[in-house]
Subunit: 215 residues, 2 copies
Amino acid sequence: MNNSDVARKPRRRSVNREAIEQRILASAEEVFAEQGFSGGSIEAIADRAGLSKQNMLYYFPSKESLYQRVLKDILGIWIEKMALIEQAGDTPAVMIENYIRGKLALSYTRPHGSKVFASEVISGAGHLQGYIENDLLPQLEADVALVNSWIDQGLMDQVEPKHLFFTIWATTQTYADFSAQISLALGKDQLDEDDFVQAGDFLIHVLLKGMGLVP
Amino acid sequence: MNNSDVARKPRRRSVNREAIEQRILASAEEVFAEQGFSGGSIEAIADRAGLSKQNMLYYFPSKESLYQRVLKDILGIWIEKMALIEQAGDTPAVMIENYIRGKLALSYTRPHGSKVFASEVISGAGHLQGYIENDLLPQLEADVALVNSWIDQGLMDQVEPKHLFFTIWATTQTYADFSAQISLALGKDQLDEDDFVQAGDFLIHVLLKGMGLVP
DNA sequence: GTCTATATGGCGATAGAC
DNA sequence: GTCTATCGCCATATAGAC
């Protein structure tokens, strides 16, 4: 019937479109990570995605819109993993450990996204118009409130919670953002999963003990 | 006499030249920090330095050479402050504290240099040809050896010294590199000296205690 | 949706007068 | 050392055929 025809065709098309858009976004994340926003040309992105640049502009009408989309996607994943999740029976120490391991896992699986975000913040976050205030900061405030309640209950040392989160962000993201420097210091071509496990072990030992969450 | 003439004139010229070069380098550090290497145009740098771009190219013959010079200068200051200096009577805790406060002071006084360096490493450090291996890593190895001697003497916990330095670098530089995000989180227009003091207090408490250098 | 062709602008760098 | 003028390249984006 006519009904099924008009319903099916657009659905097939949008599935293809979705796959191509994802390929473009993956390429864009890599190119913007390696060259920055200005340095990453849409031709380089299109090449890596296997399209002509003109064809790519059919899917993302401008470099700016593509970049915005890359930023929005990575920040979304970021915030999703940012909440200190209270599960039944979890102690503060376990929750902080999970948070650190979760952020390290993101640095391992999405290093290019981390780099794009870092470059953008370094340049002043001008393309992140309101995202930080509207999406990231509310989640930070919730996490800060939880840590403050731990402090009030005498479960840990009196430290400034915001600086704690700045520290966790910086130390976990550095293994993605500064991998060129860190892999040189470790004498490796690139960081592998084992390096991230060791980083996690170090960070959890020092931060949990340093906050007074473990003896 | 002829002798004093030929000696004086070049000296005067080179003093002027030195001053102009410093003005250009300061502008370049700001522009590259805000726009990255590709995004920062030599015209923007020249404008901020009060020169025409053609005239600026008389002092630095190419954008590349100017960028290299900015990188080299900031890395030099970096390494100079990087050594764990043993002074008579200093305990390991005091030496680490000085190191952290010193790196934080650099983030406060040279935030643009820190950002240029960070952007460069994020993009793969392709313009840092050998600098990291030849200049930074030897100093790191010396510092690592000293920390290992502390561990051998039972003065602190058994942690991996390299990860300790990655952590100190990341946590101190983040207050320069990510100042856009951090100042938003702290609800301020920009970070002031007091914010850096608080960051230092937090880091010294958590890191010294976390390493077992203080109870 | 994909292609060829092209408009348009910006930027790094050079030439040459003064 | 500084200026005017300009070359040549590359990148974003658009027009229009198929």
